[in-house]
């Protein structure tokens, strides 16, 4: 089941980022999730979103701050330097919200799942690698010159 959810998560990330954010993405299947600097040491914004149902847990999404500003600017029709930190965080949360909802819609029984409300992961400013590197089945995604990380954690 987790493998199916992971496959659906990859599909949802691709669909949402391409349709809503005009970002073409590529899942890096052979990337080592425990690498020391999974986002090339870039500061990032991370969000988490709880779900419950036949399986319960949470999704997470880590995006470099610079990329978050770019996609927020695209999303809102602003210049990069007009985007505030709060707007960039809000965009990452909303992206994860759409990804989570779309991912569950790809499961066989979407009505059996409930989504929570996305929240920012506060400790990421300090060490994004520590967050993703300790987790199994992290998905590495390439988007232009940036890399993102997403994953599912079951509780």
């Amino acid at each position: 089941m987790k493998q199916i959810m992971t496959t659906n998560l990859k599909q949802a990330i691709s669909n949402v980022l391409e349709l809503m954010f005009f970002v073409s993405v590529q899942v890096m299947e052979d990337e080592n999730p425990s690498s020391e600097k999974p986002l090339n040491g870039q500061p990032c914004i991370g969000a988490t979103l709880a779900f419950s149902g036949p399986l319960s847990g949470s999704y997470y999404l880590l995006i470099p701050q610079e990329m978050a500003r770019e996609i927020t600017a695209n999303f809102l029709g602003l210049d990069d330097d007009e985007v505030s930190g709060n707007q960039a965080q809000d965009t990452v949360k909303e992206a994860l919200n759409m990804i989570g909802g779309h991912m569950l819609s790809l499961t066989e029984e979407p009505d059996n799942f409930q989504l929570g409300i996305p929240a920012i992961i506060p400790e990421l400013d300090a060490d994004p690698g520590a967050y993703s590197g300790s987790r199994e089945n992290a998905i590495f995604i390439k988007a232009g010159s940036y890399r993102m990380i997403a994953g599912i954690e079951l509780s």
Binding site: N15, T91, N97, M98, G101, L115, I117
Partner: protein
């Protein structure tokens, strides 16, 4: 005819995107109003003339389903059409929102033409289909 549209979503970014998407779609809007949850939406509805409400379902404080229920209990507010804009994966909450009085739904992610078509159908405006559709994402009235 220009319509006053109230957008209810706890994400300020999503409110801005919905506003921008409606503008791009060409749907005729007089004034955009915004609220961050159901409670704020009720305050706006008490004070402002609103022709149409677009509301998220999953919000803190008062969610979209509670908002429709509260609107339905009010003689004037119950006449205002409500369209749900949601990330909900299944149909249960969409059906609940219909039972409570919502007249349509748009699932995120969406495209401008999807919003325009839904709003035009609900408000009785002529629909001009200008873009290709991606049928993978769901929108519509009930």
């Amino acid at each position: 005819m220009a319509f006053n549209v109230l957008i209810v979503d706890d994400s300020s970014t999503m409110r801005a995107v919905i506003k921008k998407t409606i503008k791009v779609s060409g749907f005729n809007v007089g004034q955009f109003l915004e609220a961050g949850d159901g409670e704020q939406a009720l305050d706006v509805l008490k004070d402002e003339w609103v022709d149409l409400v677009l509301s998220d379902i999953n919000m803190p404080n008062m969610n979209g389903l509670e908002l429709i229920g509260r609107m339905h209990a009010d003689e004037i507010m119950r006449t205002i059409p409500v369209v749900m804009v949601t990330t909900e994966a299944g149909d249960d909450k969409v059906k609940q929102s219909k039972a409570l009085g919502a007249v349509g739904y748009i699932k995120k992610p969406f495209q401008p033409q999807d919003i325009k078509n839904t709003l035009c159908r609900i408000m009785g405006e002529e629909i001009v289909d200008e873009t290709d559709h991606d049928d993978e994402f769901e929108t519509g009235d009930f």
